[in-house]
Symmetry: C2
Subunit: 345 residues, 2 copies
């Protein structure tokens, strides 16, 4: 049974080129879902600017409401002083929307560190969870992986990794209606003796916990196997996850740039390649990072989606769509089910 009306709180001001980008992203969502009526948007930011963008996009939807806010969290704002400085900001109100305006989920393309601190402060960490985590979606041969933590916690113990497995598999279930995702721990070898003590302990804990049926435990996975699609949920500490994510991004960019440069070195190959336009367009479309935009803070009493600050309107649309899908898929309920064995503790 999925949620009847999904209410999404949008920080209309966060990230580069906002509110133009955020409202254009919303416009794409409304276009693509024009036959649906199961969503509502609470928009936070400068009312005048937002209204202007809504007019530009000819958005006349009844399924949205603007809440005027006075300030914007800058990219330079430190997480340490953010709580004091940001109470009037669009970001703060977007998160607080889950408390006072019945939003199911909040989304922002603003300052990540500040978003994390504010979210934690307002929504509070779930009582069963010690450390909330940042989960991301990675493309693979056969679809999409969930990888977490991507940088919220640079040091993690075995219990944190187990929590990540439970939350990550709940996220995967809500997104893909898969009853039993395959979970692996990122490691430097596939044998049981490999890895740090923390990883080995997490391995034996997950082997046990998998028996209650929330997910299938696949053991260890190495970095080169992430894209082969054999695991749906890949668990790691935030330091390793962040390095892996950025290294993958850098490698992908390096390869495509190199290909582009070589092709444009001579006019004949440039011409011939341009005839293969549709193939290359398909290639680009398949791996378009905008499709995988949106990282999810898990472990708070309400989900928060972080869009890349530098993405464009299409990227922001994908992050809105992600919000919609995980609420339709009952993310919070799935997390609670997965963590229910901890309630007695």
């Amino acid at each position: 049974m999925s949620k009847e009306i999904v209410t999404i709180a949008i920080d209309a001001m966060g990230g580069e080129n906002s509110p133009q980008k955020t409202i254009e992203g919303l416009s794409i969502f409304l276009q693509k879902n024009k036959n649906q009526n199961d969503f509502f948007f609470n928009l936070y930011g400068d009312e005048e600017k937002i209204s202007k963008e809504l007019d530009k996009q000819s958005i006349k939807s009844k399924n949205l409401k603007i809440y005027h806010t006075k300030s914007i969290v800058s990219d330079e704002e430190s997480p340490i002083t953010a709580v004091k400085n940001s109470k009037d900001s669009s970001m703060w109100h977007t998160i607080n929307s889950q408390i006072i305006h019945n939003s199911d989920i909040s989304i922002s393309a603003g300052n990540t560190g500040v978003l994390f601190v504010i979210s934690r402060m307002i929504l509070k960490t779930m009582k069963q969870i010690n450390k909330p985590a940042l989960a991301g979606l990675w493309p693979n041969k056969s679809g999409t992986n969930v990888v977490l933590d991507l940088g919220a916690n640079i040091e993690c113990n075995e219990n944190n990794l187990v929590d990540f497995a439970e939350m990550g598999s709940a996220l995967y279930k809500s997104l893909f209606q898969d009853k039993k995702p395959k979970v692996s721990i990122l490691n430097i070898g596939s044998e049981e003796i490999k890895g740090t003590e923390t990883i080995k302990k997490a391995h034996s804990l997950l082997k046990e916990i998998a028996k209650k049926g929330d997910f299938e435990f696949n053991g260890y996975i190495e970095g080169n196997k992430i894209p082969d699609g054999s695991s749906n949920v890949i668990v790691t500490d935030g330091f390793t996850g962040n390095v892996a994510l950025k290294t993958a991004e850098g490698t992908a960019k390096f390869l495509t740039d190199t290909l582009k440069n070589i092709v444009s070195e001579n006019i004949i190959s440039k011409l011939l390649i341009s005839f293969s336009y549709f193939s290359l367009k398909k290639f680009k479309a398949k791996l378009d990072p905008r499709k995988f935009n949106g990282a999810i803070f898990l472990g708070l009493n309400g989900p928060v989606v972080k869009s890349h600050g530098s993405t464009d309107s299409l990227g922001f649309y994908h992050a809105i769509d992600l919000c919609y899908k995980i609420i339709k898929g009952n993310l919070m309920k799935e997390i609670k089910v997965n963590l229910s064995h901890l309630d007695e503790k």
Copy 2:
């Protein structure tokens, strides 16, 4: 002043498809350096098989000698029992060659774990170094990076990271005759406050040590910046380095496979792409992993190069060439110079 005669000990039996691969690799080296006379090879393995391969390649070089050995270290051999089981092996004798046959460097495509244990046992760790490290070469926009550690030490303290910086920059100098390589620490952000305590301590140590002039310290680098060529030497613990390396490999393979599949989906694009053959060949050649084959164990009283077990003869040639270059570039002397400030301790 570079070394007059470079003597390289080759484990002719290690890795898939050896000794055919190793001897073919040697043959490529001899072809490419036929006007040089500044090298000598000590070959270890089954004399009959090696001689047969040398005949097949019509190698009549006087600059080599075969030493017959009785056994081969299998890929399944555990590092724990290896010392007991491998004393007759081609791998053991290849390493021991630096002690008894005046070899400057040893190379093997065999079992990595065993190679590491044997090398450490025979060559011993340098007195200034606490943990030897495995360094690799990564392609980047403008050339090649050195990255270490790639998996020898899963947990490292700040002093280990400093040692890696000294050894990595010595390696870079020996390879590229660059007097002052740029060194960075792999981290999840570029601000000084980011990262683990160990990383922050290494940051302030390296800032100080860089003043003596062995290298320039560039601070932190994130995974996505590795390929941009702004740093020559990238320092990290073996767990993170191994994950980053494998994630980069996996991403590269995923991208090229996806491109290949899309292109071959329809006959027209296949045809058009095949006309762009030279461009794509150039692309492939530029990023050919065989060119970057060969990881270097640093921190022992003699260098050891590990070739990929599954590479082919061209890949093995590149690893032999790497051995030749780093000895010509006086690797061990460069390391000693970089570590000389530790001698008084």
